[in-house]
């Protein structure tokens, strides 16, 4: 994140939040852990840039935060992080503007860090992960939302049987049938290696639906299961990755993990098909098939 605020200034500014410590940062956002009204929460500090270049960046970032908060407020599921008790407020720190709010603090590791530790999940863990993500997508769909950024970095593994995996960061979630919050027609929200092929269609805002999330879920589960991304190769440029997403069929998951049930591998392979109609779209059936796997 650019212009990350000094933590001591933050502590002064957010004097009602105790034990503030830095956790992580992304493109426009830094995350801290803190205690507010007796609850440990994730304090999110979002830098709101000045719109100097006329690219609507300020509105874009503010729009993202607003959507995330609105979405989190409405959604009731253990598989998506919940909104915290510190309500969104604008702050000026030095010459920069920030929007600060809180989410529940999830004490666990994200899948990226587990991948970096060469963790090799078994079928039980993979089934649980799949069903958790499917359930989150189902709930988002019921609210006419798509997440658009499902990836290992945005999924936290918890030591809690009732919510073993939780999805974070609804910041670029997209309200289907709503107003187009991202106005720049060239800009594609999301993280390139996890973007569905239809996102590269010039009219993608008219055509995307929750099956784009199912695609990202498939890529995430494939990578978590095998330790290898099904599409992107390390060190290659974005254009090559884009070409691969749109044109190149991934190697079947079973070739990396022959020990997994073939039915599991087939479902994941089917979720990362290029044509949305080729991805199984009945989420209840997907979850049921996963649960029935031995």
């Amino acid at each position: 994140m650019e212009h990350i605020p000094d933590i001591n200034l933050l502590k002064i500014l957010l004097d009602k939040i105790a034990n503030l410590t830095f956790v992580a940062q992304g493109g426009f956002k830094a995350v801290y852990k803190g205690t507010y009204r007796g609850e440990t929460e994730a304090i999110k500090v979002v830098w709101i840039p000045q719109d100097l270049n006329g690219e609507d960046l300020r509105d874009e970032i503010a729009g993202r935060v607003t959507r995330e908060i609105e979405a989190l407020r409405k959604i009731e599921t253990p598989f998506i992080a919940r909104l915290g008790t510190f309500l969104p407020q604008l702050f000026k720190i030095g010459e920069y503007e920030y929007l600060i709010y809180s989410e529940e603090f999830l004490d666990g590791k994200n899948l990226r860090s587990k991948l970096q530790q060469n963790h090799k999940p078994d079928i039980t863990e993979l089934k649980t992960l799949a069903v958790s993500i499917f359930e989150a997508i189902r709930i988002l769909k019921a609210h006419d939302l798509i997440h658009r950024d499902i990836k290992p970095d945005n999924i936290i593994a918890l030591k809690d049987n009732t919510r073993p995996f939780v999805i974070l960061d609804l910041g670029i979630a997209f309200k289907l049938h709503g107003s187009g919050l991202t106005r720049n027609p060239i800009y594609r929200p999301g993280t390139l290696p996890y973007m569905a092929p239809e996102m590269f269609n010039p009219h993608f805002r008219d055509t995307i639906d929750y099956r784009s999330d199912l695609y990202s879920a498939g890529v995430t589960i494939y990578e978590y299961a095998s330790g290898k991304h099904p599409i992107a190769k390390r060190g290659e440029d974005d254009y090559t990755t884009m070409y691969r997403i749109v044109k190149v069929a991934p190697i079947p998951l079973a070739s990396h993990r022959p020990d997994l049930p073939p039915e599991f591998c087939q479902i994941i392979d089917q979720l990362i098909k290029k044509l949305p109609a080729l991805r199984p779209s009945v989420i209840d059936t997907l979850s049921k098939k996963m649960e029935e796997l031995s």
């Binding site: 044509l275 109609a277 779209s281």
Partner: protein, 399 residues
């Protein structure tokens, strides 16, 4: 995979006999040829032979644009209370779509059918057309119209399209993306793929349907719809039935006339031709095609695999069989192909289908080496379309 009788003109006792022999699993009645006053009695007769037969009725609303034409040939369709003439512009209004659904479903749910086929219009040329928008509206509104009836049976949306719609890959895939993610979908689809015939009385193998892209995308429709939880019934699928079942189709259908083996909107226009009835033919599974009685006589001794080795073969021994036998032999042959080529594993099915196409080509080579000239209907060019169709399907389905 199930096989149904595609009902039409002059049914006689063919459907009952097919059910009694266990070579078909049910019937798709034609509203044009089945009277509302007779259908309950006819269904009861069928159920005497097989209580669990599937009984459907195609309301054929897609013929509604023909109703005002001077050369329209609608048979008894206009006697059904739900049928009326419409202009395309009228159906752009959702209220009228809802009224047609309501009127048709009200009649159909009061019949002893095992599942309900909901009405729709025909998309002749393109999925990027007003007809496609109207057809999607029918599909979207079918479930809610049916839900009001509180009927426990399955409801199928009709999807009747011209073969030309399947030739534009981008438009077709965009349509597929739309109908596979409906919010309140029907239980399944009743598919009809229409094509013209190269000439009167010609067969499916010589029709416009036998084009690699048409075959591939008819297969892709079955594959994607079944993958997304829909039950797919193919009308007028004849010899293509196992090709559709191999990729997820639930049922196919065929009947006793050419226009029941291949769907064409021409059936609703009065034909200028008349004259003789087509020759009685034999469906040989080894060449995936029909040959005449005399061709079979000439070939069988030298190329024995031309015979299916099934019970109705004996009807063709020594003399030309009665015309009503022809469809029973067809059903028996296709049911046998379904049994041999369709398993629960799509990849295995595709291998088996490819093998059966290769065998058909080899059988044609054997016949050709014997110097036997087959009738025009049995020419082998369509085998290449089948092979290319499977290959194209695999590419489009990312298999």
């Amino acid at each position: 995979m199930k096989l149904y009788a595609q009902h039409g003109f002059g049914p006689g006792d063919k459907v009952r006999e097919g059910i009694r022999e266990g070579i078909i699993d049910g019937v798709i009645y034609s509203a044009r040829y089945e009277k509302q006053s007779n259908i309950t009695k006819d269904i009861e007769e069928i159920k005497q032979y097989a209580e669990r037969s599937d009984i459907l009725l195609d309301p054929e609303i897609y013929a509604c644009f023909h109703a005002g034409l001077p050369d329209a040939q609608l048979g008894g369709l206009t006697d059904w209370p739900f049928f009326a003439a419409y202009r395309r512009s009228q159906l752009e209004t959702t209220e009228i779509v809802d009224r047609i659904l309501e009127d048709t479903l009200t009649v159909l749910i009061n019949l002893p059918l095992t599942a309900i086929i909901a009405p729709n219009i025909y998309i002749p040329r393109s999925f990027n057309s007003i007809e496609a928008v109207i057809a999607k509206n029918f599909i979207r509104r079918t479930r809610s119209a049916f839900a009001h009836k509180e009927d426990k049976r399955r409801v199928f949306s009709t999807l009747a399209v011209g073969r030309d719609t399947l030739l534009d890959q981008m438009e077709f895939e965009s349509f597929l993306n739309d109908i596979t993610a409906l919010d309140n979908p029907p239980d399944g689809f009743y598919l009809l793929i229409g094509g013209g015939m190269t000439e009167e009385r010609t067969d499916l193998s010589q029709s416009e349907i036998m084009h690699a892209d048409v075959i591939a995308n008819w297969m892709l429709l079955n594959y994607t719809l079944s993958l997304n939880g829909f039950i797919v019934i193919n009308g007028c699928s004849d010899i293509l039935t196992p090709f559709l079942g191999g990729v997820g189709g639930h049922a196919g259908a065929t009947g006793w006339w050419t226009n029941l083996r291949m769907f064409s909107m021409n059936r609703y226009i009065r034909s200028v031709s008349g004259g003789r009835l087509p020759l009685v033919r034999y469906l040989s599974n080894s060449i995936l095609n029909r040959i005449t009685f005399s061709e079979r006589e000439a070939i069988a001794a030298l190329v024995p695999e031309i015979n299916n080795g099934l019970p109705h073969d004996k009807d063709y021994e020594g003399k030309e069989p009665q015309r009503n036998i022809e469809v029973l032999q067809t059903w028996e042959a296709i049911a046998d192909l379904n049994k041999r080529l369709v398993t629960a594993d799509t990849n295995e099915n595709l291998s088996r289908l490819e093998r059966s196409v290769n065998l058909a080509e080899a059988a044609y080579e054997n016949i050709s080496m014997l110097g036997i000239q087959l009738n025009v209907e049995a020419k082998k060019e369509y085998v290449a379309a089948l092979r290319e169709g499977i290959r194209t399907f695999k590419r489009n389905a990312e298999i």
